[in-house]
């Protein structure tokens, strides 16, 4: 397959061979720098992680014996693994629904308000630009505390937002929605702006109401974008770690600990890197399944309307 693609015949015949040679030169050299880093820091760790998940290796790199699938067997019998996996799934469902719906609602709102765009964009997207540590410290120290915390203080309540095991996961969702809804908002806004205006003009001539324009033009045209956003959001939520680790460390009573944090605890606090790898790879399989759906969507997008 070295020279199967000929350049389009713009060159004179005399120089065509030379041009064709230049056209195909140096391909591997272009790819090489990225490839070296990619293989070293993504492909290799992926393979190494699987190898480690089959071993009893500790964080010092010693006691490295292959134990077959013993780590996986242990994980499937480990109630704390199941609890953290369950927490992750609960967080994913509870966060994805409002993150997608609010993202869409905010985008529709801002798209129809034709003024003060900078204010809406700063308000809704601004928090997304804050590092997770900033968000976590702010909410932990000044929003959620009883008494002087902004939430209880404003609402006049005395909820233990982070201390009550039945509330803490909802608090994680609340903080996450505030922090990251701006990303979905922007994606929806971009999609709305790419809908051709003449569709609405035609509908207006037919006397369509705003509501029927929304239902029969806007929402159907956003279907692909929505599918994409849902999948991106599912993957992002499955990987949740930062804000939960920094606000509750997984507590109270394991009520919020996500699976990434359990892998971190087992490997970096408990020094069992082999077992931590097995736990990570259980999540890995879940994410790959969701991502395969994502790749299919990308391909469909590429083939269909863009």
């Amino acid at each position: 397959m070295t020279t199967t693609v000929a350049p389009r015949p713009t060159a004179a015949p005399a120089t065509e061979a030379k041009v064709r040679r230049r056209w195909t030169q140096h391909g591997l050299l272009f790819v090489a720098p990225f490839l070296v880093i990619y293989v070293a820091f993504l492909v290799w760790p992926t393979l190494l992680g699987f190898r480690m998940s089959l071993s009893s290796v500790n964080i010092a790199g010693t006691n490295d014996h292959l134990v077959g699938f013993a780590n996986y067997a242990e994980a499937f019998g480990d109630p704390r693994m199941w609890r953290s996996l369950w927490n992750t799934l609960v967080f994913t469902v509870l966060s994805t629904v409002p993150l997608v719906l609010l993202g869409l609602a905010f985008a529709l709102l801002v798209h129809h308000l034709r003024f003060m765009q900078w204010l809406w964009r700063l308000s809704f997207f601004g928090p997304f630009l804050l590092p997770s540590a900033v968000v976590a410290i702010l909410w932990l120290q000044m929003i959620y505390p009883p008494g002087y915390g902004l939430l209880n203080g404003t609402l006049g309540t005395d909820v233990l937002w982070l201390g009550d095991p039945s509330v803490a996961m909802w608090s994680m969702v609340l903080t996450t929605v505030w922090w990251t809804v701006g990303f979905n908002f922007l994606l929806y806004l971009a999609a709305l702006q790419s809908i051709p205006q003449h569709l609405y003009e035609a509908a207006a001539i037919d006397g369509a109401s705003s509501w029927s324009k929304l239902r029969s033009i806007t929402l159907p045209l956003l279907r692909r974008t929505t599918a994409l956003i849902v999948v991106l959001q599912l993957v992002a939520s499955l990987k949740v770690f930062d804000q939960i680790y920094l606000m509750t460390s997984g507590g109270p009573q394991d009520a919020t600990r996500p699976i990434i944090e359990y892998a971190y605890d087992v490997g970096f606090t408990g020094y069992r890197i082999g077992y931590a790898s097995a736990i990570s790879y259980i999540l890995f399989v879940l994410i790959v399944i969701v991502s395969l759906v994502q790749l299919r969507l990308f391909r469909k997008r590429a083939e269909g309307l863009s």
Partner: protein
């Protein structure tokens, strides 16, 4: 669209103002707290303003030094990651889109498959690798894994595929080589898409937490989020005005940049988020 200001628009405006106020309130609360005297930060019932507006907390936080050093570390690592990612990804993407070489299909498939690999599940093996390479507590440990970003290659690959090749062919006829064409014609023409992926890469790197947190134990190499999480809460425990001053200082840079370059940043994030579609 009519210019008339309808009742519906008025309702939407009110709803938007309320939502914007709610969304800005936590940030405003952080700023308000940071400007209060330390003794007035936990007054009940809540007060947005203390008896005076003071910048003492900022002075104290800046004096202890950590936050400035971490901001520099974050800026330097994020700039290096962004530069290397965009340069190497653009080269690779161009190589795949334009040239032909043995094993090309298999390599492209290998890179596309990597889009599905979340770096979060690789912390254990990556850490073992960094220990073996002796890179823990260096900037390279923070930088290198973040440069291996297959999504950026994919986005640029799709972009280069759609660029008509006539201009490049004309340059070839004039005797230019592949490399000269790439650096003097292709890259300058691709400025918008390169800006988009650069912005996206910079933001994600600047805010990345888990990986830098794992590989930096030395406060001298920590990035801003890691330093904040590791040190600030311990150092300023219960001194809320100083904690909030740190939070505001750490959050401010990107917000200011956003206000200045709103249009470009929105395009960059939306474009890359939708994977170049």
């Amino acid at each position: 669209m009519t210019k008339r200001f309808s009742l519906g628009q008025l309702v939407m405006l009110v709803v938007a103002l309320v939502l914007a106020a709610i969304w800005l309130a936590p940030i405003a609360w952080a700023v308000a707290t940071s400007l209060k005297p330390e003794s007035e930060t936990t007054v009940i019932p809540l007060q947005w303003f203390g008896s005076e507006i003071t910048f003492d907390s900022y002075a104290l936080v800046l004096e202890t030094g950590g936050i400035v050093k971490w901001a520099i570390n974050s800026t330097v690592t994020a700039v290096i990651v962004t530069f290397l990612t965009v340069l190497f990804s653009a080269m690779a993407a161009y190589g795949f889109a334009r040239t032909r070489f043995r094993g090309q299909r298999a390599l492209l498939a290998l890179i596309l498959a990597g889009i599905m690999v979340p770096p979060h599940v690789l912390i254990a093996p990556l850490f073992a690798e960094m220990v073996a390479l002796g890179l823990v507590d260096t900037w390279w440990a923070i930088i290198l894994p973040q440069v291996a970003a297959p999504l950026i290659v994919y986005i640029l690959f799709k972009f280069f595929q759609d660029v008509p090749p006539e201009l490049e062919q004309a340059a070839f006829v004039d005797g230019a080589g592949r490399w000269r064409v790439f650096f003097t014609i292709v890259l300058p023409l691709s400025r918008p898409v390169l800006a988009a992926v650069s912005i996206f890469t910079f933001i994600t790197t600047w805010n990345n937490f888990l990986w830098p947190f794992l590989v930096s134990t030395d406060p001298n190499t920590m990035t801003l989020p890691v330093g904040l999480a590791n040190v600030v809460q311990g150092t300023f425990g219960l001194r809320y005005a100083q904690i909030m001053a740190s939070v505001v200082l750490a959050g401010l840079p990107l917000l200011v940049v956003f206000v200045m370059f709103q249009r470009q940043i929105i395009r960059g994030v939306a474009h890359t988020g939708l994977a170049g579609q």
